[in-house]
Symmetry: C2
Subunit: 195 residues, 2 copies
């Protein structure tokens, strides 16, 4: 799900399918979000991990109640999320991460992640949760998992507003494309934490 | 936040404040949800735990993009949540729970909790997460924390569609009203898991 800042379209459209499609698919082909959702579904099906994407936070400003069981939101706006998009449970451990795509071939702009999301990741790290970011460089077709410790090390020691891809190559872990699951990020976590 | 099945109002209203108020406040006074949100905020402020209520899941069917930064949802419906409302991290452990109010003085109807929420709680329990339900009997002004093991024991061994209050009195833990935080449910968790 794209947030307002990332919205590219500049039109109004009442066709539900195309709208949902525009909201959900930033690029052609399957988005990182869709692949992660399918991967998480697969993890649940094989009873491996219970990790979900949180619903997109909105503020409802108008609702219709045509009948007791049918509430229809007639107006709402997207709000800035307080936390990361994904969290859950794996091997008794708390998992928390944010996932982002970038078209850049050279760096990942920190504008992609809200300050309170960074603070949230720092809190999770400080309290022994397993926290990371997944970044896909779509043009390069490379997907990285960067543990939050390294992510924070960069932020705390650099004034740049972006992380160069060299840092990912050096500190992050490549997640190879797969079939089932498409993005086997827990395999990387196993390697890191010694599963 | 009430879901469609719990919606009591049968009208249409464009005043945002009153609508939000009707959506959020099932009863007069502060709802269990609001008290839990304040308690979780307090836990975060004192760096004790990072537990959040998930946003209400909706399906967007119509969106306007008047400009690049302003997306306005023009139509959406509430959808059934896949998981519980609350999860997060406490002392390195994964916490997951559902919270419900009932006006009944004698029992808690299982209609209040969706089957896939029960399945979700079972998965969390099986994978060593800390899972429970918080139930407030509003008429009695009694709030209970029932660990998921006992909750599942009841469901798996009874055909009744409700849990009698005697079961809560026997197996659950009373959460006393407090000031900061209002609902100190982590104190109960500490007692149970030996914090």
């Amino acid at each position: 799900m794209n947030y307002p800042g990332g919205a590219k379209k500049n039109n109004s459209n009442n066709s539900s399918d195309s709208i949902i499609s525009k909201l959900s698919h930033k690029n052609r082909g399957m988005t990182l979000e869709n692949e992660l959702n399918l991967s998480n579904e697969y993890y649940r099906e094989i009873d491996k991990a219970f990790i979900y994407k949180k619903p997109t936070p909105i503020k409802i400003t108008k609702v219709d109640y045509p009948s007791r069981d049918k509430a229809v939101i007639k107006e709402a706006i997207f709000t800035i999320p307080s936390t990361t998009d994904y969290n859950g449970l794996y091997k008794g451990k708390y998992i928390d991460f944010e996932a982002k795509e970038t078209k850049s071939k050279t760096s990942f702009s920190l504008n992609n992640i809200h300050l309170h999301q960074i603070n949230h990741l720092r809190n999770i790290y400080n309290h022994s949760g397993i926290a990371f970011i997944i970044v896909r460089f779509t043009t390069l077709n490379e997907t990285y998992l960067l543990m939050v410790k390294d992510f924070l090390d960069y932020i705390d020691n650099n004034d740049r507003k972006s992380i160069p891809i060299e840092f990912f190559k050096d500190k992050a872990y490549i997640i190879k494309d797969g079939y089932m699951p498409r993005i086997d990020y827990l395999k990387v976590i196993d390697e890191i934490i010694g599963g």
